[in-house]
């Protein structure tokens, strides 16, 4: 099965084939023989050239995989050919209008931008309070504020769209 790993704007091809005792994996042109054992759902023991890895994998959403290794968690964006297509279409829309969404349920304590305002990537646009902590949501990229869909004091659900940005055409 062929997949693509998306990392830093790059697309890295990865192909995995099951074989007796494990998998043959070709990653970015390099071949790996992997002895794999499943401990339980999402928990694997991998032996790659004798090196031992315990990996716990969880997919928070399609195409995203949180891979927990002893030395740290890696968030891997890995897409099947089908997901690539969907992503490409979604991508267009996305490219023409980024929006800032609430990453968790909470209360809007401050709106830092107004419609028409120019913002740069990483600039704070809204401050949301949850779990007794204030968190500044930042602009995903440069652009102009197209719409502000919230106000101070609002209680917002996770994923709620708060501010809509427009790329500078």
């Amino acid at each position: 099965m062929r997949y693509v790993i998306v990392r830093d704007e790059r697309q890295i091809p990865i192909e995995v084939e099951e074989r007796e005792g494990g998998y043959s994996v070709e990653l970015d042109g390099k071949l790996y023989e992997v002895e794999g054992a499943k401990v339980l759902d999402g928990l694997y023991s991998l032996l790659i050239g004798g090196e031992s890895f315990e990996v716990a994998v969880h997919s928070p959403k399609p195409g995203l995989y949180d891979v927990h290794l002893y030395d740290g968690m890696r968030r891997v964006e890995l897409l099947s050919p089908l997901e690539m297509v969907l992503r490409a279409e979604g991508g267009k829309a996305h490219a023409h209008g980024k929006s800032v969404r609430a990453p968790m349920p909470g209360k809007v304590v401050k709106v830092l931008v107004t419609e028409g305002q120019r913002v740069v990537k990483g600039q704070g646009v809204v401050v949301v309070e949850a779990m007794k902590m204030q968190n500044e949501l930042q602009a995903p990229g440069d652009g102009v504020v197209k719409a502000v869909k919230t106000k101070e004091g609002d209680s917002v659900e996770s994923g709620a769209e708060l501010v809509v940005l427009d790329d500078e055409a």
């Binding site: 494990g22 339980l40 759902d41 991998l46």
Partner: protein
């Protein structure tokens, strides 16, 4: 004699207190909000009663409801843990009035230490060194400028009623002071309903070092050594250790004796902590006293062998301390890392939600105090701390190495945690060298967020294998799916 204790708390501290009760053979009563019906502390207790909806104000902060449960269940005493009602003088008083033992200091001591400027006045009178500054809240920006002239810059503005860094401002010169004063005051008003702000000299590159004391109702008071708590983020402790790599035996005795002096000045009873700000020369100043058990109390237990909760309960019964100062001896080193459900890659945003799986570290010299469990919720209503990982070693290096091992074994899947950030701190050469101050994290992990980890071939491969499996719907099956009879032969290849 106390035979049954109600724990007016939740999360890891409720679990930790429950274990102490079991170790003492005492019956336990848990209280829980509707969000905590399936929580660990509910399941570990002998009895459990729901006291209201999720928001703390409607459950864990409801004094009358909690007292009613105590009376109805026949609990003779209440342990408040930390946070919630633990430093609430009124609750301590209400317990007394209801004939229930409050496992903590008398209301008077809580009150005396509760308001910072008052506490500083009392300490100054008692001969405890305090940071030069105004003992009174400042009337306005001008009086702030006046005071700053006296203390000298840089100065720190602090909310009188505050805590946790809210209403605090560091000011380097007089031009910035008026604006900072207004910000601090309004933030204080917003956070604590009290805009009172005071000012003191800012100690440069300070260490946060605190002393654990233990006092009984008969006038006995001992110190159990110090804890180094300089590793902080936004004034929140992240990594603590005991002893402090900075403190010499002589300094330990001095700080300890001053801490006892401070406790006695307010007629303190039970376990308490005196927090000191320590400058690079070793001069130390009283900051505040926490009139309760600390989150980080475990590191003191690890090096002294003393169970602080057990001592709290004994003392609350009116028993004299079971130990004298000369019985206290520090063995080895201990560190604590606080695991928070927050995302270091996204400005440490809290990550409430469902925990898919938890694996806690095990083995020698590791202790975990936690309330996290597989399929448990990290609720947005409460503190995002999900576990405390505590390590012990015969010396500081061994202790840090064991903490590294423990963190590596620690795993929470489903919600993001600061585990990797903690790992980076513990492995940082400056941390290993013991070069700590409250600016450590900002200096070495500059900026709000932490850098993305290096990609890992194993991780990429694992993701692909997982994706492949999911696409085949083999998710349901469990147990090793691949065991290779030929593997040992393969292992034997190339022996030539």
């Amino acid at each position: 004699m106390i035979e049954k204790v109600l724990i007016a708390n939740r999360g890891e501290i409720a679990v930790r207190v429950l274990r102490a009760l079991k170790d003492m053979g005492l019956a336990s009563v848990a209280v829980f909000s509707e969000a905590d019906r399936a929580a660990r502390h509910v399941r570990l207790a002998d009895e459990a009663y729901c006291i209201g909806p999720a928001p703390s104000a409607q459950s864990y902060l409801r004094m009358d409801t909690i007292l009613e449960v105590a009376l109805r269940s026949g609990a003779r005493a209440i342990h408040p843990g930390y946070g919630f009602l633990s430093e609430n003088a009124e609750f301590s008083r209400k317990c007394k009035d209801a004939g229930i033992i409050f496992i903590g200091p008398p209301a008077s001591a809580i009150h005396a230490m509760g308001e910072k400027t008052r506490a500083r006045q009392i300490m100054a009178k008692a001969g405890v060194p305090v940071i030069p500054g105004t003992l009174q809240p400042l009337a306005d920006a001008d009086s702030a400028l006046e005071a700053a002239k006296m203390t000298g810059y840089p100065v720190m503005l602090k909310a009188a009623a505050g805590g946790g860094g809210k209403g605090m401002r560091l000011v380097h010169d007089s031009t910035a002071l008026p604006g900072a004063f207004r910000d601090a005051s309004s933030e204080a008003l917003k956070s604590f309903g009290d805009g009172a702000v005071y000012l003191e000299r800012a100690v440069v590159k300070p260490r946060h070092i605190e002393v654990q004391i233990l006092a009984d109702a008969h006038g006995n008071c001992v110190y159990l050594g110090e804890r180094e708590c300089s590793i902080q983020r936004r004034h929140q402790k992240v990594v603590e250790e005991a002893p402090s790599p900075f403190v010499t035996p002589g300094m330990r005795r001095m700080m300890g004796e001053v801490a006892v002096q401070a406790a006695k000045a307010v007629g303190y009873v039970s376990a308490g902590t005196i927090e000191f700000l320590v400058d690079q020369s070793g001069e130390f100043f009283f900051m505040e006293m926490n009139t309760r058990l600390q989150v980080e109390h475990a590191v003191t237990e690890m090096v002294t062998g003393i169970d602080l909760v057990r001592e709290q309960i004994r003392v609350a019964e009116g028993a004299p301390l079971s130990l004298r100062q000369e019985d206290v001896c520090i063995r080895g080193w201990s560190m604590e890392c606080r695991i928070y459900a927050e995302d270091p890659l996204q400005n440490f945003m809290p990550c409430p939600g469902r925990i898919e799986a938890v694996r806690l570290p095990e083995g020698p010299n590791v202790r975990v105090d936690s309330a996290a469990f597989t399929r448990g919720e990290v609720s947005m209503y409460y503190d995002p701390m999900v576990a405390k990982v505590i390590s012990w070693g015969s010396d500081r290096d061994a202790c840090a190495a064991t903490m590294n091992r423990a963190l590596m074994e620690f795993q929470i899947v489903g919600t993001t945690t600061n585990r990797d950030f903690l790992l980076a701190i513990v492995d940082h050469p400056e941390f290993r060298r013991g070069n700590l101050d409250t600016g450590f994290i900002e200096r070495h992990f500059g900026g709000p967020s932490m850098g993305r980890p290096e990609p890992s071939v194993a991780a990429d491969i694992a993701a692909a294998i997982y994706a492949l499996e999911s696409s085949r719907r083999v998710g349901a099956s469990a147990g090793p799916v691949h065991v290779q009879p030929s593997a040992w032969r393969r292992a034997m290849q190339g022996r030539g």
